[in-house]
């Protein structure tokens, strides 16, 4: 059964140096508050998995939390590059970053295999591409009935998966809706799961066949309003497109990035304080 805790307690208890960790959310419901709490608690040597690293992993990579990244599309959506990700790959700053690169279809299938307790996934993919030359974990498999050759990739299993959702009831049953991404699979492929939510409600009153994660597949659930900003939470707030553009300027230069991390994350107590700093026009004038 999920336990209601603070985000700080959840990260402290459940995220360990060296862990394999997935923080999912496909543009929508990205668990930014949790990512920043991991930076704040100075976790190291994480093996990060995410289809779209997005700004959340750009922050974590630049802050030195990551040893490895498994991903399928590493850009700043609608803006351009992820500069911290590129600096790590192109220049090894702040440290070397091992890459395990796949396609979206592969990684989505690999999460499904993880959730289904299978060691590998089968897909029609990669034919003619150069992926197999740079990733020896993409292999071939032959259909025992037709003789067709397909691609096989290893399942994703994580030590801990972190997602953000719209709401949870007092027992810790979680509901999300809108763009669902691969969150259910990422939670079910995990040994431990942390879910931050916009609000804690008495009952979910969910429609039939809604996307629900029962309390007993979640380890900790934390009420963190606006915890997905600058991404969005359907029904709660919109995507902060301006921040994604501002991030391009912040992350482009190492000094400026470090100053931002220091001021916004390391010197703040929690996400509430981060939000206050983020809303302070005097502080923000520096970055725009």
């Amino acid at each position: 059964m999920a336990e209601w805790t603070s985000l700080s307690e959840a990260v402290s208890a459940l995220v360990r140096d060296g862990d394999t960790i997935a923080m999912e959310g496909f543009t929508h419901l990205i668990p930014f508050a949790a990512g920043q709490e991991i930076i704040r608690q100075r976790r190291k040597s994480l093996s990060l998995i995410r289809m779209t690293p997005d700004v959340i992993y750009d922050q974590m990579i630049g802050a030195g939390c990551a040893r490895k990244l498994t991903f399928s599309w590493g850009g700043n959506p609608g803006v351009g590059s992820l500069h911290r990700f590129r600096d790590a790959v192109e220049n090894g700053w702040p440290g070397p970053l091992e890459l395990e690169e796949r396609s979206h279809s592969d990684l989505a299938n690999a999460y499904v295999a993880g959730a289904a307790n299978l060691p590998f996934a089968v897909l029609r993919g990669y034919t003619g591409s150069d992926f197999m030359q740079v990733n020896d974990r993409i292999r071939n498999i032959t259909c025992p009935f037709t003789g067709e050759v397909l691609a096989a990739t290893p399942a994703v299993r994580t030590d801990v998966t972190v997602i953000h959702a719209q709401k949870a009831d007092w027992k810790g049953n979680v509901q999300l809706w809108g763009i669902l991404g691969v969150q259910k699979e990422a939670v079910l492929a995990a040994k431990r799961a942390i879910v931050t939510v916009e609000e804690r409600v008495r009952t979910l009153d969910a429609p039939p066949n809604a996307c629900i994660l029962p309390s007993w597949v979640v380890t900790a659930v934390c009420e963190v309003p606006r915890g997905a900003t600058p991404s969005y939470a359907h029904g709660y707030y919109d995507r902060d497109n301006a921040f994604y553009r501002t991030w391009d300027r912040i992350a482009r230069v190492r000094d400026r990035f470090q100053d931002w991390i220091e001021r916004h994350i390391l010197q703040t107590r929690d996400f509430d304080e981060y939000l206050r700093v983020q809303r302070d026009p005097q502080i923000q004038a520096v970055y725009s």
Partner: protein, 261 residues
């Protein structure tokens, strides 16, 4: 005909025209999304736009900035999970047209969105594959929209992310890829299509005001022109009006006119 328009507008309009009404289209973000939505607003109201984040039948009132914007979910006929989109809908063979962008492509319309330079020590680390490898292989046909220059139209790709016609000829058929591959590449200079036999891209129509030299100088290989190469129909007044309206609405909604392309 329509007075002044930009090369980008010509590109988008030319691309939009190639999406037929009723087609089920797997849409990449950025230029493909702009063109697909323009088509939907003009001649293809029944086109079904599918985004890899899960929306099926999205009808966004303004262009999405990200591949998973809320207006895609709100206007879709249904929103499924990302694994389902790739498994049941793309791989399942339900997509008529894959609409892609590209960082680099070669004469056989193979695409690189991974790295410039060696993979392990790249000069430029590009975003990577996203959904493109499986879109390019599984969609029944593919449209590619990309700005043309020597940097994008390269002699040899440093990395093949998504396949076009491989080494040309019947190489794609021999690789048993499900879809028939790129049927057109639309740039800011011209529209290219694969030669029936060699599968090498040939310029089929040249946008008004562009000449062959412009195209040759924007291509790293010795580009071919089709025998019956003609001129692209310039944007109609209505096409430009709808496109500009869409971009204006988008800029207002996203609060930044500069980024609304």
């Amino acid at each position: 005909m329509s007075g002044h328009y930009t090369a980008d507008e010509m590109m988008t309009v030319a691309a939009a025209r190639l999406l037929r009404n009723g087609a089920v289209c797997f849409v990449g973000i950025g230029l493909p999304s702009t063109a697909a939505n323009l088509a939907r607003l003009i001649h293809a109201p029944e086109a079904v736009l599918v985004y890899e984040s899960g929306p099926i039948g999205a009808k966004p009132p303004v262009l999405p900035l990200s591949i998973g914007d809320g207006n895609l979910a709100e206007t879709a006929d249904t929103v499924v999970s990302t694994p389902e989109i790739f498994r049941y809908w793309l791989q399942g063979g339900r997509i008529d047209v894959g609409f892609l962008g590209a960082a680099q492509l070669d004469r056989f319309a193979n695409i690189n969105t991974t790295v410039v330079g060696p993979y392990q020590k790249p000069t430029v680390r590009l975003p990577g594959a996203g959904g493109a490898p499986e879109i390019s292989s599984s969609a029944k046909e593919v449209l590619i929209i990309v700005k043309q220059s020597k940097r994008t139209f390269v002699e040899r790709l440093d990395f093949i992310t998504s396949v076009g016609f491989l080494n040309g000829g019947d190489a794609r058929e021999r690789a048993r890829l499900p879809g028939k591959g790129p049927v057109a590449v639309i740039t800011d200079l011209c529209v290219l299509r694969p030669n029936d036999v060699t599968r090498e891209l040939e310029v089929r129509t040249i946008h008004p005001g562009v000449d062959r030299r412009n195209i040759e100088e924007s291509t790293s290989w010795a580009i071919r022109f089709a025998e019956d190469c003609g001129e692209t129909e310039p944007p109609a007044t209505e096409e430009l009006r709808v496109l500009r309206d869409l971009k204006m609405r988008t800029a207002v909604a996203h609060g930044d006119p500069g980024e609304a392309a």
